[in-house]
């Protein structure tokens, strides 16, 4: 018996368009799937943590209980930008770790198909034209597009370009090649929103959204849900051998926010909090980047994936471009990254993402990933960034049984 926490059951729905299902339907499908995968029911759960970012005041947790089981357990509705799913999972993990409960359920769900551009915009000027300063900066009109961009594709374009300015080696083509990899990977993932292989030329000639990010280099807005059941080591030991064999050990569960850095008021710093999380996670897990058999990281845009190679210590500082060009992050490379297709191709139903990437890792560690199985995978990492910012990082290990 130990303090270890295990993922007992986990699942994700198909990502894509689900016009006939609402958020409660999708969350229920994922939750029931995770419970069945773990061989347990709602009656076994001591806590529920749930997130749906676009409906973060709607009490998705309690709505879900009405649909699958109102057992009276504590519900934590969480919202933490794109790290919402990871935050829900970590909430359940903390509850089990505290000893208050021996099992918990975490669910993330989002309906985002057709949502279009996220971030930016603002209140249009009124018809009565009179400049009147308002808000924190005393702005007389909407500043998006006048004082830089507030939209996500442009913000993350600048994140990638900043890396290029600091270390060199980046180009439009390099970033496009990252998207080429992820679109190629998704062809093996039947649950991905998009499974079509795209050529580099198609990607570079796609609609330009915010240079250097074209449409196919942006995360795909779609519907989806994911859920996980976590269990204490003591409880797991009372379960069947099959449950113990398929259980995945949570070697590290880390959540960080962005510490102050010069410039963070004008461009969110997604680097320092990821570096901090990686350091803490490797320390907690007792492993290093060289031990990772696969990584799912937050490629909300192709420009973002590059910087996280460096932030997660997968390459030398400043060496992300060379590391990628070496082929290391393709599925047959040294450190396969986003073999699911990533957010660019698998899709990014915001609150589901931080659990769906854990599912991807678990799927490989269990040896159940079919044609896209990374052979012999023992240890994997799942990373998400919520702008604002929050970083969720989990290191997972297969059962020794």
């Amino acid at each position: 018996m130990s303090d270890d926490i295990w993922i007992l059951g986990i699942t994700m729905t198909k990502f894509g368009k689900h016009p006939d299902k609402d958020t409660v339907d999708l969350a229920s499908e994922a939750a029931m799937g995770a419970l069945a995968d773990g061989g347990v029911t709602m009656k076994d759960m001591g806590i529920l943590a749930a997130g749906c970012l676009m409906q973060s005041n709607a009490g998705i947790g309690q709505q879900l209980q009405k649909q699958i089981g109102q057992t009276g357990i504590p519900v934590y509705n969480v919202a933490n930008a794109c790290a919402t799913g990871a935050t829900a999972l970590r909430t359940a993990i903390m509850a089990v770790k505290s000893g208050e409960v021996d099992m918990g359920l975490a669910v993330g769900v989002e309906k985002l198909a057709g949502a279009g551009l996220l971030g930016g915009g603002g209140t249009p000027k009124s018809d009565k034209k009179e400049w009147s300063p308002s808000g924190r900066y005393g702005a007389v009109t909407n500043t998006d597009g006048r004082i830089g961009a507030a939209s996500m594709p442009a913000v993350f374009a600048q994140v990638g370009m900043e890396y290029g300015h600091k270390y060199g080696g980046t180009s439009f083509e390099l970033f496009a090649k990252i998207a080429e990899k992820n679109h190629a990977h998704s062809t093996l993932n039947p649950l991905a929103a998009y499974t079509k292989r795209m050529t580099l030329e198609e990607i570079m000639n796609d609609v330009m959204i915010a240079y250097p990010n074209t449409r196919s280099m942006c995360s795909a807005n779609c519907d989806g849900a994911a859920a996980a059941v976590v269990v204490s080591d003591a409880k797991l030991k009372t379960m069947s051998l099959e449950q113990q064999r398929r259980a995945i050990k949570v070697k590290a569960s880390i959540l960080t926010s962005d510490p102050y850095q010069e410039g963070c008021q004008v461009l969110p710093d997604v680097n320092t909090l990821t570096k901090n999380a990686a350091r803490l996670a490797y320390e907690a897990a007792g492993v290093g980047p060289e031990d990772l058999d696969l990584v799912e990281l937050h490629d909300c845009f192709a420009t973002a994936e590059l910087v996280h190679y460096d932030n997660l210590g997968l390459c030398e500082e400043g060496g992300a471009a060379d590391f990628f060009l070496s082929g290391a992050t393709w599925r047959d490379g040294k450190t396969p990254v986003n073999v699911s297709g990533g957010l660019e191709s698998k899709g990014h139903p915001i609150a589901a993402t931080g659990i769906a990437n854990i599912w991807e890792i678990c799927h490989h560690l269990r040896g159940e990933a079919g044609p896209r199985q990374i052979e012999g995978a023992k240890v994997g990492m799942a990373h998400v960034i919520g702008l604002g910012s929050a970083c969720g990082l989990h290191i997972l290990e297969k059962s020794g049984l």
Binding site: G122, A154, Q158, L267
Partner: protein
């Protein structure tokens, strides 16, 4: 300049337009908005300082798709003004990756972004190529 108003209150107009920031007197961290305590060192004393007008482009994106009502294309950029990072558009040049480059020297420039019903001009700012 009673008939002019800045786009934001951290743009100082007059003979030599410039940006101003609130600087933490303990650690030197700079903010374009008010803070109750410094996000870097928790100091509570701030003074107003002028931000240098010259800088270099340390990140940019040429935005061709934006929220409704936002005119495109435009170049969003992060400028390193001698150690103070500033966000602004690159203006007075073609919005293309052949013209706008990382490390490019730029300087602050202002322009009239519109006039209201009382004849007051709103003055915006951006950064133009310095060479």
């Amino acid at each position: 300049m009673a008939n002019q108003i800045p786009l934001v209150d951290y743009l100082e107009l007059g003979d030599q337009p410039h940006l101003k920031a609130l600087e933490c007197t303990s650690c030197g961290a700079r903010y374009f908005d008010r803070r109750n305590a410094c996000a870097s060192c928790s100091g509570t004393d701030f003074r107003s300082v002028a931000v240098p007008n010259d800088g270099i482009v340390k990140a940019f994106s040429i935005v061709t798709f934006a929220a409704p009502g936002v005119p495109v294309p435009f170049v969003s950029a992060i400028i390193d003004c001698d150690g103070t990072s500033v966000r602004g558009n690159i203006i007075n040049c073609e919005p293309s990756p052949e013209v706008v480059t990382l490390g490019m020297p730029v300087r602050l420039a202002t322009y009239v972004l519109g006039t209201d019903d009382h004849g007051v001009e709103a003055i915006g700012f951006g950064f133009e190529p310095a060479n």
